[in-house]
Amino acid sequence: MDSPRLSLVAVADAYAHAVCGLLTTTTDGTIVRVNATFCRWSGYSADELLDRRRVQDLLTIGGKVFHQTHLAPLLQIQRSVAEVKLDVRRRDGRKIPMLINAARYVHNGIDYDDFAFVVVTDRHKYEHELLLARQKAEAALEAQKAAEDALRLADRRKDEFLATLAHEIRNPLAPLRTVIEVFRRKQFTDPQVLWSRDVLERQVTQIARLVEDLLEVSRIAEGKLEIRAASVNLATIAREAVETSRSIIDASSHNLAISLPDEPLVVSADPMRLSQVIQNLLNNAAKYTPAGGSIWLNVCREVDEAVIKVRDTGIGIAPDHLSSIFQIFSQISAGLPHSQGGLGIGLSLVKALVERHGGTVAVQSAGTGHGSEFTVRLPVENVLGTSNSVPPCAATQHRAQRIVIIDDNEDTVTSLAMLLDLDGHETRTALDGLTGLAVVKEFVPETVILDIGLPGLDGYEVAVRIRETAPPEMTLIALTGWAQQHDMDSAISAGFDFHLTKPVDYAKLVAILARSLTKEG
């Protein structure tokens, strides 16, 4: 029996009528051999193609560019290209999608390129669908991105709003606090007046604390929170925090049990921030524990961690709120009665601060009505050095001074002047920079307390002008609502000796006045 191979057509015929279009070109693309299949598909006769047209001449303009930028260089460098899909323009102008493979070979020392073309009309339709689907997906992605950008912008505006709000509230708080100090120095005897003064003081302190927390949260959101780490003894910080929170705890007649380690427990932390963490946890415990409850503060070491635990017998936390308790505004949605709810700023601040110190904070509660326990863990610093926590303030010296206060908030100026007068100082005031300069020139004070945000001539400019003529021993104290590091740096470079943030902590001011005496001496 004959082999089926014997009845095959000649190779030349097989080439001519292959199931794909076949071309051979020189390296510039000139067609030097073409099969009948390609001629049939393209509508050109072999005579019209051979030596007269280049392969790129059969492409659309887009295809020509693709040939020049992709196909030709690929052939030159790699000597082969696979699965390029381009439209071939027929003699009658119609476009036919084709898939192209090509390879370069040497014959008698000359480079030639072999091309194989396959018509891919169906694949083209399919690809077209795919491209459309991708365009839709891209459009959807763009829309999503735009929506996310809008959300981020809204979120940033919210942060900016909160920061501005906090600053705006802070300003009127300054004279309120000073007025309360004035009341303290007056010998009231009427118990109702005394009670009213105490209420005023507690509530103003509470607002001030909320505003400070809000500012801190804004700083964190804006990535501006600064941590000034030092090696500190945790027990010392805990004691300071307890002192600050004591009035709130006592106000609700809670019993506070404190357990601190005997050995120094040194952590690398910003003493002010760490104290803030403990205060917030204590205040939180006091707030959410019914009057007469118990609060425990326990500081100890567990292997390489310093552990701070604050436990209370308070209202507790429902299990489904445990996971969101550290998120800002979480307590609004937690369904707590209004009187007990808050903005959730304190705990979100605790979490952010602890994390900035490389630590963790966790909460445990057996459920509503069963109290809560917050646990902060910080890495222990294994150093032998002693704590260099903030040194205690030197005993306050007191001597009457001549003081000029310049601030555009009349209440701030008047109340501060009143307070300083009560302490025996002699004061002059001004509500703008130019008047202030005149007063300083005429009164020649020992100390000038100067607001930065003055209308017209700002505080920095006023400070510079004062420094130009005033005796060098004159003390300049900057007073601002903005308390970023760069604000303080600008103040120092403008010639200020000290920088105070509104609302003025009167004790700090007194300490500065005492220190400025040393400067004179």
């Binding site: 510039d28 659309t60 303009i61 887009g62 295809g63 020509k64 560019v65 693709f66 020049q68 930028t69 992709h70 030709a72 260089p73 690929l74 030159q76 460098i77 790699q78 000597r79 082969s80 290209v81 696979a82 699965e83 390029v84 899909k85 381009l86 439209d87 390879a103 370069r104 040497v106 083209h124 690809e127 795919l130 491209l131």
Partner: protein, 267 residues
């Protein structure tokens, strides 16, 4: 991410003047292999990949930054500040000629000269301006690219089928040619082919050489002449070459044109 690894910067030669080579669309630094080495004995020759191409750090690709050529121009300035010694002669191909031009307009102090190989300020015809293509042509091209980048993995990064005559081509450089992320390539194609920097030509103060191929579909002679007219004091050199890559296919004449131009500047 250092600038050097972001842009796959490679330093080939040393000298008191730097020659920085920037490849064109769809290419990578290997496009300079027939061109750059002959300058390495005299200059500190530096080649690099545009972000998105070759061995650049693809994670640095940012659609907003690279949504216009000025994003690439900023990179060129950073590369010069980081990797160049002395003043820089910039040699750009295709789209990188515009990138270098924008960089030099922004920081003329960094550039001694600008050698533009196959430049085009705008591919699309507009009134009296003949860029070589209608908007439909460019859309068709972008469609062809879309279509081929769709099947990218098999199309543009085929296994090297061996080239015994030129074994040196079978090295990593060859393999990296066109090995671009298809999404990036599609985006870059749009940025490249829809860019219009005709308005910037009059701001050029750096001495400029335009190397124009005698037969280049992407940058026809009329475009080279337009550039020459609109860049004050520029030189135009037409090299006999078919195609858009004279530095690859006609490196000799292209090099001679560059040498002659640098000679007139005294380098």
């Amino acid at each position: 991410m250092s600038i050097q690894s972001r842009n796959n910067v490679q330093i080939l030669g040393e000298g008191s003047v730097t020659m920085l080579f920037a490849h064109g669309f769809g290419c990578d630094l290997s496009m300079w292999r027939n061109f750059a080495p002959s300058f390495a004995s005299r200059y500190r020759t530096v080649v690099f990949d545009l972000v998105g191409g070759g061995q650049s750090d693809l994670s640095a690709y940012n659609r907003t930054k690279y949504g216009s050529l000025s994003g690439y121009a900023d990179d060129v300035i950073e590369i010069i500040e980081e990797c160049a010694k002395g003043p820089t002669i910039y040699v750009g191909h295709s789209v990188s000629t515009m990138i270098g031009m924008l960089a030099a307009i922004q920081r003329p102090d960094l550039f001694l000269a600008n050698v533009m190989i196959g430049p085009s300020p705008s591919f699309i015809d507009d009134g009296d301006y003949s860029g070589g293509f209608s908007r439909e042509d460019i859309d068709e091209l972008l469609g062809a690219l879309d279509s081929n980048y769709l099947g990218w993995s098999s199309t543009m990064a085929p296994a090297i089928m061996g080239s015994p005559e030129q074994p040196e081509l079978a090295d990593e450089l060859t393999n990296s040619f066109f090995r671009t992320d298809p999404e990036i390539a599609r985006h870059f194609a749009r940025v490249t082919f829809l860019a219009d920097h005709r308005g910037d030509l009059s701001s050029v103060t750096t001495p400029t050489l335009i190397v124009q191929s005698s037969d280049d579909l992407l940058a026809p002679l009329s475009v080279g002449e337009y550039m020459h007219r609109n860049i004050a004091g520029s030189s135009l050199s037409i090299v006999a070459n078919v195609g858009h890559c004279p530095h690859l296919s006609a490196p000799g004449p292209s090099k001679e044109a560059a040498e002659a131009f640098l000679g007139t500047l005294g380098y």
